[in-house]
């Protein structure tokens, strides 16, 4: 019994030593310091600088649909505004107003192979005989919400000549037989000056492509993210996910972006 007692004491002592040592040797790790945001990044909610230009402004006239703004002054800022204002022409599909939209698109663009791409979805849906249920708010199939994305990047710009602008837009897409769902994606424009900014090319630049060398990457996309709410609304974790593997450099917020 004597031996036994000593064994237990030794065991207790060892456990005590170890416990004390472990407690002493593992001080709580100090919380990592947050990097001071630089002056340029301080302004926006998601860390992007905010510019002074607004979506839905910048021109002096409207196109034949009565709402698309035209008549820009040729500066690079006006190119960014033009890109935002032209985005719905590319993204929206409403079968009841499609014909007018297509007409407007031709007004604000220069003829080229991009027109076929830009009008493919609309033509397809507008000419389809019977579509499955799923359209929302009347005849809407795709409806952009540029302010929900609210970011742009001027990749290259030569005033009153040519500009390549990427616009990050939100939107709502109809789903076959289901409720519509939100999405975010980047539309890349090439605008050419011809008394006004005109679309001369556009693309939804996919992973691994670079718009013929004119952009660094296709910009943020929401592909692979599911949204509970059909209304596009950015959160900072979403922004982080969308920008995964993409450069944040050069992206600027419109002054009236939805935040």
């Amino acid at each position: 019994m004597r031996k036994h007692w000593k064994l237990l004491t030794a065991l207790g002592a060892v456990i005590l030593i170890i416990a004390v040592a472990v407690v002493l040797l593992n001080p709580p790790v100090p919380a990592p310091k947050k990097d001071d945001p630089s002056a340029l990044q301080a302004s926006g909610k998601f860390g992007f600088p905010v510019s002074g230009i607004k979506i839905g402004e910048g021109g002096t006239k409207t196109a034949s649909d009565g709402k698309t703004i035209t008549g820009y002054n040729g500066t690079c800022d006006s190119a960014a505004q033009a890109a935002a204002n032209y985005t719905p022409l590319i993204e929206d599909v409403n079968t009841s107003t499609w014909a007018q939209q297509k007409k407007t698109l031709v007004e604000v663009g220069k003829q080229g192979p991009w027109v076929e791409r830009a009008t493919f979805n609309g033509d397809l849906l507008a000419n389809a005989k019977d579509l499955p249920p799923g359209a929302f708010d009347g005849q809407w199939y795709y409806r952009s919400d540029v302010a929900a994305g609210g970011l742009y990047r001027v990749t290259s710009c030569d005033e009153k000549k040519k500009a390549v602008v990427q616009v990050f837009t939100g939107g709502v897409a109809a789903v076959v037989n289901k409720a519509p769902s939100a999405f975010f994606q980047t539309v890349t424009f090439e605008l050419t000056w011809s008394d006004d900014w005109k679309i001369s090319d556009f693309a939804i630049v996919q992973a691994g492509q670079d718009f013929g060398g004119r952009v660094k990457d296709g910009g943020p996309m929401s592909v692979g993210t599911s949204f509970d709410d059909p209304t596009p609304m950015l959160q900072s974790d979403l922004v982080d996910a969308f920008f995964q593997g993409k450069s944040r450099e050069g992206w600027v917020e419109y002054a009236n972006a939805k935040r």
Binding site: L124, A128, A173, V205, V223, T225
Partner: protein, 629 residues
């Protein structure tokens, strides 16, 4: 004394079991939490391993199902669905996805950002041209969801293989309309038993990882500091023993010039060495894990059969409570064993740091080696356990009750539950068995045979190493051979004595008659030896081997025999041993003459009896400095 040690064993087993269970419960927390399905949930590493281990036909079915899901996803897009008019959108898309997503893993990983291979595959899959045109114009990426979360679970659980991958088993009530409390209890035990076994199997391969990280290093530093203090005390003890002539200068020299620096080097590089060895073991485990995972998957399929068992004949509620209860305990014990392994490694590593100072004292040196070898053994035990697990599980999964459609017989089913539970019990307690039946350790490396626990013993108890160490001890007692290099204080003498036919030189004592051809060092050693009869005894005890005729009895046996004998029995035993040594050397003895014979016989007998005393002492080493006596 017998009952005391028995009760201690029982208490130890109880402690170890309690730790098994509590650790199992702790580690089960995250496993349960992982069940919460999020929208973006992906398969975890374990599930992926099980998926990889499924039979090829099951994997193909799962892949096709997942591609179908991707197709459904793509066809949710209005433009694409409209462009596909005239073709079955979902099946054509699934076919297109199947052309490049050739495995279930690829299908699960596909995130929709790269649509180029999909678009390229559309025409050959039979899609109408507008669909291909839609795909190429670029908005295909607008809205696409990878397969994850609820969608993935639903898709997978539609397949029998998928259920195994997910680890979901639907349990039916054992007794359909439970009338009394006990029948309800039987239902509960069965549901819990099957569920937890399944859960444990699913999490088995991920619970135990030991890492030599920064935390371990800093803890090691603290323990090594204490170890160095102990080393300082050991120096005092060393010199005290030298001055008491309990150890000789030769050993002291070895201690100072060799083990002193070595222990400092080990203090500095211990974690690094541990890291390297641990890395090897992890790689080994990793290599075995894949093989084992597919066996565990087979076994998981077998276990999921239990879910459908119902009461029939003798397989009633009592049998269900007992058998499924056993299954439950065995499953947790197995998980606990794997979970304890890192703890044991951690504590043993620190034990080594604490004991590092012991290395400089010849008497206590073996203890460090013992703990070190135990550490190695435990880190090697994981890959071995995994191997054994694979073997046992593949045996079980091939039983008739689990093969094909199974058997509709209550007794056969009951036996199969018992078999599974027993197999898992065997695995849970496999480590001691491994050491008993798989002699992985060279007997000389476990050069400890002492009866009492040391400081490391306490760490071992905490680390569930008690059973292992006792097995090692048993093996070692039976097998330890003479001439442990650098082992006991007498070791160097044994080595010296076996060098040549020098036994007679020894026994002839100090005359230096030149019979032997010893090196110059031997005379000094001899004089030292003559001052310390114990050590000389050891030399003579081993001198029999020097005569070309191998000593068949091991020192362990001799020591045992010595210990067993008392008084006259011991003396006669020593006489016998001495006489034996003399007899074996009789050819030499005859050449040496009758006088030498008499002297040799007397001296050998004297030394052997001294040796007997000494070995009896060395069998029970002094742990007073630890226990405070």
């Amino acid at each position: 004394m017998q009952t005391l040690s028995a009760s201690r064993t029982i208490r130890l087993v109880a402690i170890v079991l309690a730790m098994f269970l509590s650790f199992g419960i702790i580690t089960a927390g995250p496993a349960q939490a992982a069940d919460d399905v999020s929208k973006s949930e992906k398969l975890n590493a374990d599930q992926l391993k099980r998926l990889a281990g499924l039979p090829a036909d099951q994997r193909d079915k799962i892949r096709d199902r997942l591609n179908q899901e991707l197709g459904k996803n793509a066809c949710g897009d209005f433009a694409f669905s409209t462009a596909m008019t005239g073709a079955n959108c979902e099946s054509v898309s699934a076919k297109a996805f199947g052309s490049f997503l050739t495995t279930p893993e690829k299908a699960l990983d596909y995130d929709g950002t790269n649509t180029v291979p999909f678009c390229a595959a559309l025409p050959s899959a039979g899609a109408p041209s507008p669909a291909t045109a839609w795909c190429v114009q670029g908005s295909a990426v607008k809205k696409f969801l990878p397969i994850a979360g609820v969608v993935m679970r639903t898709a997978l659980s539609a397949m029998p293989g998928g259920q195994v991958v997910l680890g979901t088993v639907d349990t039916v009530a054992f007794i359909a309309n439970a009338k009394d409390g006990f029948e309800k209890f039987a239902n509960t035990v069965k549901a819990e038993g099957v569920k937890s076994t399944n859960e444990v199997l699913n999490n088995l391969l991920k619970v135990s990882v030991f890492e030599v990280d920064d935390a371990f290093r800093s803890t090691w530093a603290a323990f090594a500091a204490i170890g160095i203090l102990v080393m300082g005390l050991m120096y005092f003890k060393l010199w005290k023993d030298v001055s008491n002539e309990e150890i000789d200068m030769d050993s002291a020299r070895t201690s100072l010039l060799w083990y002193g620096p070595l222990s400092m080097v080990l203090v500095l590089f211990g974690p690094a060495i541990g890291y390297v060895i641990n890395g090897w073991m992890s790689d080994l485990s990793e290599g075995v894990t894949f093989w084992t995972a597919s066996r565990v998957t087979d076994f998981g399929v077998a276990i999921s059969r239990f879910a459908s068992y119902e009461s029939s004949g003798a397989f009633g509620p009592l049998a269900a409570v007992l058998l499924f209860g056993l299954l439950f305990i065995a499953a947790w014990a197995m998980l606990g064993l794997l979970a304890l392994q890192p703890l044991a490694l951690y504590l043993l590593g620190l034990g080594v740091a604490l004991m590092i100072g012991f290395m400089i004292h010849p008497k206590y040196r073996e203890r460090v080696g013992k703990v070190g070898v135990l550490w190695l053994g435990i880190s090697l035990s994981k890959p071995l356990l995994l191997l054994l697990m694979g073997a046992v599980f593949s045996y079980i999964a091939s039983r008739p009750a689990f093969a094909g459609e199974g058997v509709d017989d209550g007794m056969v089913n009951a036996t199969s539950v018992f078999l599974a539970a027993a197999a898992m019990c065997v695995l849970a307690f496999a480590l001691p068995m491994l050491y008993k039946y798989v002699p992985i350790l060279p007997s000389s490396s476990t050069s400890m045979g002492e009866g009492r626990q040391s400081v490391a013993g306490a760490a071992m108890v905490a680390g569930a190493g008690a059973a292992i160490s006792s097995s090692i001890r048993q093996r070692r007692t039976a097998q330890v051979q003479s001439g442990t290099p650098g082992g006991r204080s007498g070791g160097s003498y044994g080595g010296g004595a076996t060098k040549g036919p020098s036994s007679m030189t020894h026994s002839e004592g100090h005359s230096g008659s030149g019979l032997g051809s010893n090196g110059p060092g031997m005379s000094g050693r001899r004089s030292a030896a003559s001052r310390i009869p114990n050590d000389q005894g050891a030399a003579t005890g081993q001198s029999g081997q020097g005569q070309g005729q191998p000593e068949t009895r091991t020192i362990g046996e001799l020591q045992k025999a010595d210990r067993a004998g008392t008084g006259g029995a011991k003396a006669s035993q020593s006489l016998k041993t001495g006489a034996g040594a003399v007899g074996r050397g009789s050819a030499k003895v005859a050449a040496g003459g009758a006088t030498a014979f008499l002297l040799a016989g007397r001296e050998a007998a004297r030394q052997a009896s001294m040796r007997g005393q000494r070995s009896a002492r060395s069998m029970a080493p002094d742990t007073d400095h630890i226990s405070g006596r």
